[in-house]
């Protein structure tokens, strides 16, 4: 079944850029040019996710968000905004969005986040998982234990969180900013290769020796945990 994405964005170039990107990744995309239209679509169709611009003609993005949530629709929504400050972010998340991405952004970042949102499912409805695995890598969330092919891997608490994030998004790209947000709860672009160093340490621990590589670098975007390269 093909997944449908709703893009609510008034700037035609950006809308086109985003829509093309999703289509290339196998999605069917509906585009709405203003808030009213967007709200109409959101309440009508069944979307895997909604990409919502913060500032829209007719009806403000946050107002659309409020109306969608008030109508009981829990489709994952990611807000795009030219207002990039952390405060705007908090405001967006408080209004009921699932994620917030400041403009300008790279499409790969948006894609990674949208896919992560779908995996997470509607907010609050996350199924309880006690075990995460990828190939012969196994993470026991209750015992907080990680094993590779039966052999225990010793991880620092943050390395554990980092690996957990990657495992929960298995087969999908996790960007560096997503890691900083999820693991350390700071919302800024780390800029330099700060995260890369953490990843390479983690990689050393889980790919000890000549085992099959699981942690792949997706150039220019982030990292992905997968059994196949």
């Amino acid at each position: 079944m093909t997944k449908k994405i709703l893009v609510v964005e008034d700037d035609a170039t950006t809308a086109d850029y985003v829509a093309k990107g999703f289509e290339q990744n196998g999605y069917v995309v509906d585009v709405a040019g203003d808030g009213r239209d967007g709200l109409f679509h959101a309440t009508d169709g069944h979307y895997a996710a909604i990409v919502l611009d913060r500032m829209l003609p007719g009806m403000d993005g946050l107002a659309v968000l409020g109306a969608v949530r008030a109508a009981g629709i829990d489709t994952p929504i990611i807000v795009l905004s030219a207002l990039g400050s952390t405060d705007e972010r908090v405001k967006g998340l408080k209004s009921g969005s699932d994620d917030y991405l400041a403009k300008p952004f790279a499409f790969s970042e948006l894609l990674a986040r949208v896919e992560a949102l779908q995996r997470r499912g509607p907010s609050g409805a996350q199924p309880v998982v006690t075990n995460l695995r990828c190939g012969d890598l196994n993470m026991d969330l209750l015992a907080r234990r990680v094993e590779r092919a039966g052999a225990r891997v010793d991880l620092q608490p943050r390395e554990f969180r980092l690996l957990e994030l990657l495992l929960r998004n298995k087969g999908q790209v996790v960007t560096r900013t997503m890691m900083l947000e999820e693991v350390w709860d700071y919302h800024f672009d780390p800029g330099t290769n700060v995260i890369d160093v953490h990843i390479s340490r983690l990689r050393k621990k889980i790919e000890d020796g000549d085992r099959l590589p699981l942690l792949h670098t997706v150039r220019g975007v982030g990292y992905m945990l997968s059994e196949t390269a």
Binding site: T86, Y186, F188, P190, G191, V197, H198
Partner: protein, 461 residues
């Protein structure tokens, strides 16, 4: 609406002020004057009563001792000695015939006995009628006695009091007017001074300030508050100018490079075009980072972020940042350590402080050297956060320069960075009512973020 401007009577300001001060004056002084009037009046009345009582007693004493004849002679004495102070006295027999006294006959309307009558009478031997307080007494033998004393004195006192009162009122009107006018003029002069400065500033000259020491204290305080506001506005405008200038400057070079890359790529082979696209993407990323960093600083400087103050542990924040950057430091042959109490509770914007410290740590890893120390200490009014390294440092005369926006010091031009890290850290310190300070770590650089402990309660100044 009651406050319709059409219905409101607009009096000239000095008259309004005068009227208000007048009404206030009256409200305060009238009760006092009335009280004084009443007290004085009853005092006088009491004295008149006393005088009548005395005369009555001596007359009755004489009567009970030796009858009406003795009483008559006693009355003559009362009149002569002035016991009644220019008063009147009359004794009549039961049929109403005069036995003694200085009145020609009993006034027809006067009842007997009675305590207090105010009556205008002509005593014998006087040409003018006077006002008397009169007491009448019925004697056991059927005779009637009339005693009276003049109360002109009281009347004069009353008149004088009323006169004084009216005079005071009459005086209050011009005094109130003058007072109002003076107050108004003073206020007007100060207001005009403020207005003049405002006009100059509206004209684009931000350097003018009000005189804070002249005139009344309240105006001094007002002037100080306005000056502080102007200071802040001037600073913001100056910053805005700087941002625009530097942003334009810093965007121009990547834009020029991009243009060159694109021109060269046109018509070149596929490999060459691919290279050009990658170079252009890199430049675009750099520009985007520059713009978002600039926006972040500007909004922080404008005080955005006050709404999101929360309670958190500063020591925990340092541990987070150390954990994030330590691997990078180790990779470059440095080490990062923490010097802070185990817990340091603070109310502030955790995200922006985290970002500022991360920027400083990032700088230390990039430009510093040796061991890097992240520290925090409680200094009472302030909490100091610092990032210190053992690298080449920045010479003291370049400290102020380094804090400005887009200031990558020339030596470090080659290293990647927006050059906004310190500027952002300074904006964050100011958001929390503090400052940033660059110190010589001998050797190396020590950047101190000074945060006010009660920043959450500060209004932005």
């Amino acid at each position: 609406m009651i406050d319709s401007p059409r219905l409101r009577l607009r009096l000239p300001a000095p008259i309004r002020v005068a009227l208000i001060s007048l009404v206030f004056g009256l409200v305060i002084t009238l009760p006092v004057l009335l009280f004084v009037y009443h007290q004085t009046d009853s005092l006088f009345e009491q004295r008149i009563h006393d005088r009548l009582d005395d005369a009555e007693h001596s007359a009755l004493d004489a009567y009970s001792a030796s009858g009406p004849a003795a009483m008559a002679s006693s009355m003559q004495q009362i009149i002569r000695t002035g016991q009644l102070r220019g008063g009147v006295a009359l004794l009549v027999d039961p049929r109403g015939h005069k036995i003694a006294g200085n009145l020609s006959g009993w006034p027809p309307v006067l009842p007997t006995p009675s305590q207090w009558n105010e009556f205008r009478l002509y005593p014998e031997g006087q040409v003018r009628a006077e006002l008397f307080a009169i007491r009448t007494i019925a004697l056991p033998g059927g005779e009637r006695l009339l005693l009276g004393t003049t109360i002109d004195e009281r009347e004069r006192m009353r008149a004088a009091l009323v006169e004084a009162l009216l005079g005071a009122l009459l005086l209050a009107v011009p005094l109130g007017l003058i007072g109002g006018w003076v107050v108004l003029k003073v206020a007007e002069r100060r207001a005009r001074a403020i207005g003049n400065v405002a006009t100059r500033i509206a004209g684009g000259d931000f350097s003018h300030r009000l005189d804070e020491d002249r005139g009344a204290e309240e105006f001094g305080m007002l002037a100080a508050a306005i000056n502080a506001m102007l200071e802040r506005i001037e600073e913001l405008v100056e910053q805005l100018r700087l941002v625009t200038d530097s942003l334009a400057h810093d965007l121009r070079s990547p834009l020029t490079r991009m243009r060159a890359n694109i021109e060269r790529a046109a018509g070149a082979d596929a490999d060459r075009q691919q290279q050009a696209i990658e170079a252009v993407s890199l430049d675009i990323d750099r520009m985007l980072r520059l713009i978002s960093a600039t926006l972040e600083i500007s909004s922080t400087e404008a005080g955005v972020g006050k709404q999101h103050f929360e309670n958190f542990d500063l020591a925990g924040l340092l541990r987070d940042i150390c954990e994030i950057y330590n691997p990078l430091a180790e990779e470059r042959g440095m080490e990062m350590a923490i010097d802070a109490p185990p817990k340091l509770a603070y109310t502030g914007n955790r995200q922006s402080i985290g970002r500022a410290v991360a920027n400083l740590a990032d700088n230390a890893v990039k430009y510093g050297g040796g061991s890097i120390e992240l520290g925090a200490a409680d200094k009472g009014e302030f909490i100091d956060l610092w990032v210190a390294d053992r690298g080449p440092g920045i010479s003291p005369d370049l400290h102020e320069h380094a804090l400005g926006k887009y200031r990558r010091l020339e030596e470090s031009r080659t290293t990647e960075g927006s050059g906004l890290g310190l500027a952002l850290a300074r904006a964050v310190a100011r958001l929390h009512g503090g400052e940033i300070e660059l110190q010589d770590n001998a050797p190396g650089l020590r950047v101190v973020l000074r945060l006010r402990r009660d920043a959450g309660n500060l209004s932005l100044l």
